[in-house]
Amino acid sequence: MDLTFNAEERAFQSEVRGFIAKNLTEEMKRATALTPSVFSDPDIGMAWQRALHRQGWGAPGWPVEYGGPGWTPAQRWIFETESARAGVPNVNVMGVKMVGPVIIGFGNPEQKNFYLPRILSGEDYWCQGYSEPGSGSDLSSLKTRAVRDGDDYIINGTKIWTTHAHHANRMFALVRTSDGPRQQDGISFILIDMKTPGITTRPILTIGGDHEVNQVFFDDVRVPVANRVGEEGKGWTYGKYLLEFERGSGIASAKLREGLKAIADLAESDLTGRAIDSPDIATRISEVEVDIDALEMTELRVLSALQTGQNPGAVSSILKLRNSEIRQAVTRLGADVIGHDALAVEPMRPLYKLNHEPAIPEDMLTVVPEYLNGRAYTIFGGTSEIQRDIIAKMMLGI
């Protein structure tokens, strides 16, 4: 194992840097820095997705036959790291990184031909219909029901925490098509056009003041049976497959490092009265930096294991857990570093289109919203408690 890149990899690194320098506009960069939620709004995020797609880099994790670039793990590492360093938009992952792999793995040829190109190009914008008000960590207890009626299903029920449902034109959802002996049985994976009559969306504001998630209601919504992926009743298998992508896509440390750098820059600035001169703050920055070093090294270990054909397994739970906890440590540190300026609330969104002078410096605007919204990191994608259950069961065998 080696921490340095070879000549080919360095050449690729220059290529990525060149691409970013050419395509990342100041507007995209500023909008990304001033977005305190997980994903960029579609106008920013999809502009970046289109640029990536033009370059043939729209879906780094896909097989070449479906439009993937055929990168080695080291190339993916370089791409993700350079993207994080440059502050590129956070493209909503629901299409490329989530429903894409499921359609590739379990979809029929018609579905692949129709949906995959539209995901790559950014023509379709996806949201995820998993959680329900009564089904959080116990996801397979879900109750949204799809009843067969000729060539259609009729769907009734509700989904919650639906990220960007208010922007999406499509949803992939887990719905109950029958009742089996186990609650995981009888679940189907279905693709829904968000313009179908009977769908309504209610915004949910998170504590940082952002509208990113929603509740979606289904009232006799008619969806063609042809929109089901894979077999009826086997949706839980496909849904779990997708969750592994949600948890362990594996390269989070570069973004964490940029997040910490922004906080350390503030701490070294006169805007915070040089917070870093307090040994307490300086040491906490080091503690978080060291945690990021450890996560980065674990990611590299997983990556090099994948290169030699080993299966990372439950380590994706470790990566998810540590990423979410460190993310929260970064945002907590940020809220402390800006001192009294943490008291100022800016209710307008988006922050990159304010039509007035904010009460605190622009560089601080996202700090407290990110801290507040960031509490969600240890909850979504399987709570930290669920991840610990997985580690105990899969890694420790208890």
Binding site: A282, A294, L295, I318, E385, A392
Partner: protein
């Protein structure tokens, strides 16, 4: 073990020599194998798993490294092949009571004399000094103008008149000692190298050592995790194994995660031992701080999950825990190294 005046086995040391482990990091031209920090780390992790108490760190990781880096060709030729074949054991006497963990603070004085050098001062916490044939002593060089500001490293025979070793059983196994030097007279060539300030070499050697000790701590933690996991499967309370309780399962998951993070940090520090000084030092201090913190958690929780038996000398858990406490203390604990990491970050 605490009552064993030797603290290690000479037979085992001989086997280490036969297996090539003593030759591992020594350059090939001096009878070594030319291995690097990653290979040392693999060995150290295995030592940790078995709670080995042979003077490997003192002789090989500290002693041989310092001679290789600072010694003249003649000094290297005299010492390194003998270290590799097991016939020469070393120790490094550097820490002083007033210095705490500050590697730059040395009060022990080396005065230039007509015949060579005269050393006077006191050292503490010298790893395995009792087992050493020769001891590398750091001292502030005084020439005829007074203190020079340069630290020199001196190779002193353990039997040298004026050198008094007071050794004690070390927390977690092995031994350590305090050393008093009362007018120890040494020849000219006892000084390693040409008298350049040895502080950068000392920092380099200690950073390497912290990487190696980090790997050893990973092995110790892994054994504690394995042992504790096994115990929670067997031990039944309220009619079911301890491991059936979610609070226990989550504790074990946290322990496993911290062992894994520690493994990443030890490997990272090893991969950076030959990087530029600030990068190397930050990796070493980061690893020392993080692994120290994880070691306390894994060690303390291993005892907690073993219940009352964990607090007794009847189980090995306590011995492993004590070695982790010794690890965290050596060369400065977590708080010290987070502080050094922060300080280096601001000067970088």
């Amino acid at each position: 073990m605490a009552n064993d005046p030797l603290g290690y086995s000479p037979d085992v040391w001989k086997q280490f020599a036969e297996l090539g482990w003593l030759a591992l990091p020594i350059p090939e031209e001096f009878g070594g194998l030319g291995g690097g920090a990653v290979e040392i780390g693999i060995l150290m992790e295995a030592f940790g798993r078995g709670l080995v108490s042979e003077p490997y760190v003192a002789t090989i990781v500290l002693g041989a490294s310092l001679i290789d880096r600072c010694g003249s060709m003649a000094q290297k030729q005299a010492s390194l092949p003998k270290i590799a074949d097991g016939s020469l054991k070393l120790a490094f006497a550097h820490s002083e009571r007033a210095a705490r963990f500050d590697l730059a603070k040395v009060a022990t004085a080396a005065n230039k004399t007509a015949q060579g050098w005269r050393l006077a001062g006191s050292k503490i916490a010298v790893l395995d000094g009792h087992a050493a044939d020769e001891i590398i002593v750091s001292a502030l060089i005084h020439d005829h103008h007074g203190p020079s500001g340069r630290i020199g490293l001196f190779l002193v025979r353990a039997t040298e008149p004026g050198l008094v070793i007071s050794d004690y059983p070390r927390l977690g196994g092995g031994r350590a000692c305090n050393i008093d030097l009362a007018d120890v007279h040494l020849p000219e060539d006892a000084l390693l190298g040409d008298g350049h300030d040895a502080l950068p070499a000392i920092e380099w050697a200690v950073d390497r050592t912290m990487a190696a000790l980090g790997a050893e701590a990973v092995g110790i933690m892994q054994t504690l995790l394995d042992t504790t996991l096994e115990y929670t499967k067997i031990r039944k309370q309220f009619g079911r194994p301890l491991s059936a309780n979610q609070v226990i399962r989550h504790r074990l998951a946290d322990m496993a995660m911290q062992v894994d993070e520690s493994r990443s940090m030890a490997l990272r520090a090893a991969l950076k031992v030959d990087a530029a000084p600030v990068e190397r030092a930050r990796a070493a201090s980061g690893a020392k701080a993080k692994i120290g913190k994880c070691a306390r958690f894994v060690g303390e929780q291993s005892i907690q999950l073993h219940g009352g038996m964990g607090v007794t000398e009847e189980l090995e858990v306590g011995a492993y825990f004590k070695r982790l406490v010794a690890f965290d203390t050596l060369f400065g604990g977590s708080a010290h190294h987070y502080g050094r990491h922060a300080q280096l970050g601001r000067t970088a």
